[in-house]
Amino acid sequence: MSESTGQDVNVRTTAAQRATGTNTDTLLQTDGLVKQFGGFTATDAVDFSVEAGEIRCLIGPNGAGKSTLMKLVTGQHAATAGSIYFNGFDVTDDAPNERIDRGLSMKFQVPSVFEDLTVRENLRLPNQRLADGDERRRRVDEALAAADLADVEDTRAGDLSHGRQQQLEIGMAASLDPDLLLLDEPVAGLSVDERAAIADRIRTLNEERDVAFVVIEHDTEFVAEIADRVTVLHQGDIFREGPIEEIEDDPEVQRIYLGTDGDAEGDAR
């Protein structure tokens, strides 16, 4: 999927080529991205960019626009204004499945596995798009092993624990060989061991397969463990951006997180 860059040069992709094409390390670039729900502005002219191969964490108080930004990137929400460039393409008007074909993948906030299918069947679904026969079987086996789910491959996915469903869904999302994987709260409600396993999985995918990540997460310890850079969203726009140490010590960030400025009610999770 990543080979798609560099082709298809036409008028429509020129801006996209400049922003996220082969001549730059930028993988994802949003340009003045606005999303309004009725009179409420969820994201307000956000210019957000992600480099190829980095792990970026997206933090911010509830209602800051994190999930909205993510859903704009995947196409589940249509942008009110602005553009989204990804992998050399202007994907602003593309359907979600078309963006997936450009090298994007996502894990939802609530574990979304196909409950009535077995674990193996769940992993076959992304893999059957990319391979057939023995190659497909190999890929599914590999995905099962990587998500540590080989012992429950014939179990109904709906019967798995919350933690294993998270692992399964990340496994499904990673099976698409994405260039960028978006994770919405991958460790919410998980035990210490399960968190460690997810952190490990993210690093492995990043190092071995060069997958870039955008991770929405509230847990600062987890963020510190995985993130290269952190972006703080506040009231629908980027508030700060930088390494976690800087962000953690920033009094302004502490202020918005503690909710002293009125509209943010602190960290719910």
């Binding site: 359907a95 499945n97 074909d101 979304s112 596995v113 196909f114 009535d116 193996r120 059957q128 798009r129």
Partner: protein
């Protein structure tokens, strides 16, 4: 042992995770059923075979709904619309062309017409962002509109064929073929042909739901957004499924004409008629293909028999059956039987029965005890 290890031979195509009934026991039972169906006319005579033909025709409708609803999650009240439209289309083509070749062409045209109607309706629904319960409402409304229109269309001619309003439209005998090679389809041959076509449709759909395509259907049923985020074009897939479902309902419409030679709006487009497939599929088990067939045949047989003896209760009986099935066996009778068979395999017959009786006793006790307790104490009300 994963599903990749399923037999890859001819039989393997019909088996997979999306099916109830596999292995030697199932195929033996299916073979026995087919033999029994084939022997039926010689045993009971042509009249009873004709009756059963009518019930088998219902099975096409049941299959079409099980396919779109049970496997792709599209609860449609419109399968009857496609069924009826195909029946009408067949009558119109046969009436206009009035030749064996015309009739043969009519079969194909009618099935395509059912599929095309589903394609058009499906396009506007799925690409128009209509989802979930709104699909159900839209399809029901379309069916009822057809009923209203059909009843008033007493002087509407398509070519030389009058759609006939309330009284509908009829055809003469069905003679298939071309030139000198023709064949007139009469009972019991009609019966045998319908059994064969039903079997082929069942096996075809079984292969389809167990293919890669079927896996995506189930994924869409389980979680549309997740399926889309795996890169599947969900709208297009739903449209394809809905169109195939319309084609199968259309096939049912043609077999209906082959059985009865006439069609009226009330029989195919009325709200009651549109509800029956939902009942068959719910009762039989919507996530199966065999369940809806069995339920359609059984319920139609019961309903027809009951409507001779107690005409006023027949429809109510069908409704009661549906409610009972949803309360007691929410996944349907066939999955319920499968569950029961697994249960007794696990616990043994004696222990299993004891456990089940205990559990039933407790459940009944709770239900009976509950309302009484409400009257006596306020604590229970707080619950």
């Amino acid at each position: 042992m994963g599903t990749d290890a399923f037999p890859t031979g001819v039989l393997g195509r019909f088996e997979g995770p999306n099916t109830v009934g596999s292995g030697t026991r199932f195929w033996a039972a299916l073979a026995v059923t087919v033999v029994a169906l084939l022997a039926y006319p010689s045993v009971v005579g042509p009249f009873a075979a004709g009756q059963l033909t009518r019930y088998l025709v219902s099975a096409f409708l049941a299959l079409s709904l099980a396919f779109v609803w049970g496997y792709a999650g599209i609860l449609s009240f419109g399968q009857n619309a496609f069924y009826g439209l195909s029946g009408y289309a067949f009558a119109v083509v046969v009436g206009n062309l009035a030749s064996p070749l015309g009739t043969t062409v009519g079969v194909g045209v009618a099935i395509l017409f059912g599929a095309l109607s589903a394609l058009v309706l499906g396009y506007f629904m799925f690409y128009g962002g209509v989802r979930d319960v709104y699909v159900t409402i839209t399809t029901l409304v379309v069916t009822i509109v057809l009923n209203t229109y059909g009843k008033t269309a007493s002087q509407v001619f398509v070519g030389s064929v009058n759609l006939g309003g309330d009284t509908g439209v009829g055809i003469g005998e069905i003679t298939l073929g071309a030139g000198p090679a023709t064949y007139t389809l009469v009972q019991p041959a009609t019966y045998y042909v319908i059994v064969a076509v039903l079997l082929a449709t069942y096996l075809g759909l079984r292969a389809l739901v167990n293919s890669d395509f079927g896996r995506v259907m189930v994924a869409i049923r389980e979680d549309e957004d997740r399926a889309e985020m795996l890169g599947y074009d969900v709208k297009f897939r739903k449209l394809v499924v809905f169109t195939i479902g319309g084609g199968i309902a259309g096939l049912g419409g043609v077999t209906y004409m082959a059985w009865g030679y006439s069609i009226t709006p009330e029989v195919v487009f009325s709200a009651a008629a549109a509800a029956y497939p939902v009942v068959w599929v719910s009762v039989g088990g919507r996530k199966t293909l065999s369940g809806p067939i069995v339920a359609a045949v059984a319920i139609e047989w019961l309903r027809t028999t009951a409507s001779v003896q107690f005409p006023e209760f027949a429809k109510i009986g069908v409704g009661v059956l549906m409610i009972a099935s949803i309360l007691l066996l929410p996944d349907g009778v066939v999955p319920g039987l499968r569950g029961a068979s697994r249960y007794f395999d696990r616990h043994g017959l004696a222990d299993g029965s004891r456990l089940a009786i205990d559990r039933a006793r407790r459940a009944v006790g709770r239900r009976v005890g509950g309302p009484i307790a409400v009257d006596e104490s306020s604590e229970v009300v707080q619950e």
